[in-house]
Assembly symmetry: C2
Homo-oligomer: 269 residues x 2
């Protein structure tokens, strides 16, 4: 039995950094819908406030908790009775949980539309002067706990390095506790795993690229050895890391000339 | 000697599909600059015309050939004397050639700003219900010629499959000849390499995902065996392919329920 609600659920990406990273198409949809929900638990916009977004569209936005989205299905329930937009930072389908929601929407026979936006996945390579097609699997370093210290990000970097591929390393977000992992914490984690496993995948002398506030007017991009970077202050969130694999000369040149990597990087090529 | 031009060169992404995929930030910059150039040889917008973009900003845009951008450095030369925007489809730094241009700009002491946008790299996984962190290296199938028949895309898929990773397969663009590779041509190429190498990486019975017109209101997403897909018509450009690696149950469910993949995909998990 096909029985559609007749209403639409839009998944709309807010993009990378502030209220002006959303697309014109996204704004148009927001102006049209009845209800607007947003979640900031999988990611967040640091260059703006929610009210700046509300001002642009002259409408209110309800921010939902993970429980309200995933257990109480608030956006899905609303979309049975009206047109609804669901906003998330970055591209709206990058978080696995939103793809799941899309499947759920189809099961409920709710029509969906996706309005994409800028994402760290596509922005990071270019900002670091690295070629997008040379990146392997992305990985995320989680906040570790006494009984939770996974090695998987280290292994992901190892597998990519074997293929000479770069690794984009995302850093954990605990929006509910206002905790956003810094580059420094990420590197400390990697050195700690290195100390345990000793496979020389990420040592103090390895080259790494620190990226902060991608999408802002002046994102910070710094390339150097892990031991140098770990001592630096990269300012406010969001941070991420790139652990390069083999470098083309042009890539190395960018890291040296633009991102302050040591000159001898070029000698090795 | 630091001697900056005092002017700014903006790299601005037009996003995935039409004139409304650009961000508000991109539009603001376009309204501010003196000259606007665009290139459509690395990618293109299929859901719109150049004049639709011009209408939004009430300004003219000069479309440049590869030669004018890369040999005559028209945008860089202009940015020595005024504020300039350089537009490209998708995210503005995904094409390697634009990263090179960014290095060149820094050598010329021209200040640069990047305004990101939606890109197939971040949009494709979610549209196919596949998890972004399970994708390996992206690859591109080129138009082959009598003396040019590279095997590298096949090997890229093979390497990713070994890691159980999905592969995003971009398809060649020859904007000057108005040729945009179809899913069908891409699959034919893969079967041809399979016939030569016989490693059972992409056979007629392999699962593939066809994606067309990502970023449009109704992008087409179809999952099926290669032999089925190769007979179908996916409509206008742009097309791309995904060759899945190992599937989670949720991913397989999406491919079956939303993208029409054969039901037995779920039995195998």
């Amino acid at each position: 039995m096909e029985c559609r609600s007749g209403f639409m659920l839009y998944f709309i990406g807010l993009g990378l950094y502030d209220e002006k990273d959303i697309s014109l198409k996204g704004i148009e949809a927001l102006k049209k819908v009845d209800d607007i929900y947003a979640e900031f638990y999988t990611a967040n916009l640091f260059g703006t406030t929610l009210s700046a977004v509300e001002d642009i569209i002259s409408k209110e936005i309800s921010v939902l908790t993970r429980e309200e989205v995933e257990e109480f299905n608030i956006p899905l329930n609303a979309a049975m009775k009206k047109d609804v937009a669901f906003l998330a930072a970055g591209d709206p389908l990058i978080a696995t949980t939103h793809t799941d929601m899309m499947i759920e929407a189809k099961k409920w026979n709710i029509e969906t539309r996706v309005i994409h936006s800028s994402s760290i996945l596509s922005a990071a390579p270019g900002l670091a002067g690295l070629q997008a097609y040379k990146f392997g699997k992305v990985t995320t370093i989680p906040f570790t706990e006494e009984n939770y210290f996974p090695h998987s990000p280290y292994h992901a970097i190892k597998a990519n390095k074997k293929l000479k591929a770069h690794t984009l390393v995302l850093l954990d977000i605990r929006a509910d506790a206002d905790r956003y992992m810094t580059v420094n914490q990420g590197l400390e984690y990697l050195l700690k795993v290195e100390k345990e496993l000793g496979e020389e995948i990420v040592t103090e002398d390895s080259l790494a690229v620190a990226l902060a506030r991608a999408g802002s007017i002046k994102p910070l991009v710094r390339a150097d050895t892990v031991k140098k970077l770990i001592m630096e202050d990269f300012g406010g969130p969001l941070h991420c890391l790139i652990i390069p694999g083999d470098l083309h000369f042009m890539e190395a040149e960018y890291l040296v000339k633009i991102c302050g990597a040591p000159e001898n990087l070029l000698d090795e090529l």
